[in-house]
């Protein structure tokens, strides 16, 4: 059997010799009926973008990166405040003591957002500014009321001072005063005893 390859022209003749398929007679009628009745099916809907499956994960990554950034940024801010606080304020772990000498007077108080700034004027010093950030972060908050209810071991009296621009006293800070109660009581008792002796 002799093998003969099909030439381009022969192939073209074969393809062009294919019978022409025609649309059915009622094609136009059906089409116009469909249009009149607005039976468009899914064709009326907007086609989905080919790139939606690319946009979705990238969008998710951007949003999660933004959330991560926001969380990290917030944490670093808290850390810096915490470091600042430990440098400027010396005290116990859960209560902040601000010792105010008698000759000092608080001349100005400001409250900006969550930070409290207290300006103290000292008689010896011209002006000293304590710009310590005392954050009101729920995480670092302690129950001062609970703490104050406990008996103070060294028998120091405590006086509450107000803070911020509020006129109402806020029980946030405690000043320490070293009053020797027992000595004072002994003095009073001795005076009373002396008076009694005199009157007798």
């Amino acid at each position: 059997m002799k093998s003969k390859k099909i030439s381009d022209n022969e192939l073209l003749n074969l393809l062009q010799g294919l019978p022409k398929e025609k649309a059915p007679e009622n094609f136009e009628f059906n089409l116009m009926t469909r249009i009149q009745n607005k039976q468009f099916g899914n064709l009326q809907k907007e086609e989905k973008s080919i790139f939606w499956w690319i946009a979705l994960p990238s969008g998710t990554i951007v949003i999660s990166a933004f959330i991560l950034f926001a969380v990290l940024f917030n944490n670093s801010k808290q850390t810096s405040n915490f470091v600042n606080k430990t440098k400027t304020v010396q005290g116990k772990h859960d209560v902040i003591y601000v010792v105010l000498p008698e000759e000092n007077q608080i001349s100005e108080r400001k409250s900006i957002s969550n930070e409290i700034f207290v300006k103290i004027t000292n008689s010896n010093l011209n002006s000293s500014k304590i710009n310590q950030a005392l954050p009101l972060i729920s995480k670092n908050n302690v129950s001062l009321d609970g703490y104050l209810d406990k008996p103070i071991p060294n028998s120091y009296n405590a006086t509450l001072v107000s803070s911020g621009s509020s006129t109402e006293p806020v029980r946030n800070f405690v000043t320490k005063q070293s009053i020797k109660v027992q000595n004072e009581k002994a003095k009073k008792d001795s005076i009373k005893a002396k008076k009694k002796l005199k009157t007798k």
Partner: protein, 195 residues
Amino acid sequence: MLNLDYKILSDEVLIKDFQENDNLDAYQELVRRYKDPLTNFVYRFIGDKELAVDIVQDTMVKFYLKKNSYQTIAKFSTWLYTIATNLARNEYKRKRRRTFLSLNNDDSEIPLQVEDEKILSPERETDNSFIAEEVQKALLRVKPVYREMVILRDIEGFSYEEIAEMKKTSLGTVKSRINRGRNHLKIMLQKYYEK
């Protein structure tokens, strides 16, 4: 009834009339002109007459709905065939998924199922409809990406440039795909020429 003047107007004038004046007569004239060539094209690509008619209906509905997406810089036939090609390709993919012909999307590797030569009567071998049937079978075994271009070029008679515009590809790609498609067809139809 259609106005007789519509029959002598060009496609581009008719589509402009339909776009600007919502003239259904102009639309109907365009439908009348393209329903048969489109049906033939989609049938050759899909191989199913009923499905081909449905796809052409959808093409015409889409043409009706998206008439304003046509711009006068392009040829109307190119634009309409682009719609039909996209719909046909989508339907073909759906059909393939349903019938599960192949998983690797390489039709050229599927051997052509040819009837035994010995059992064919001489009358049938020379029968035009039989040859047409075999050519159609061979066409359906060519990769869709080559097949659509061979049909557009060799059956529908579009130029390489028009096909490149339709498929949004370069002229070189079109020529190369058509050449590959033709070569696949030649290999599959060789059996009928070995005489």
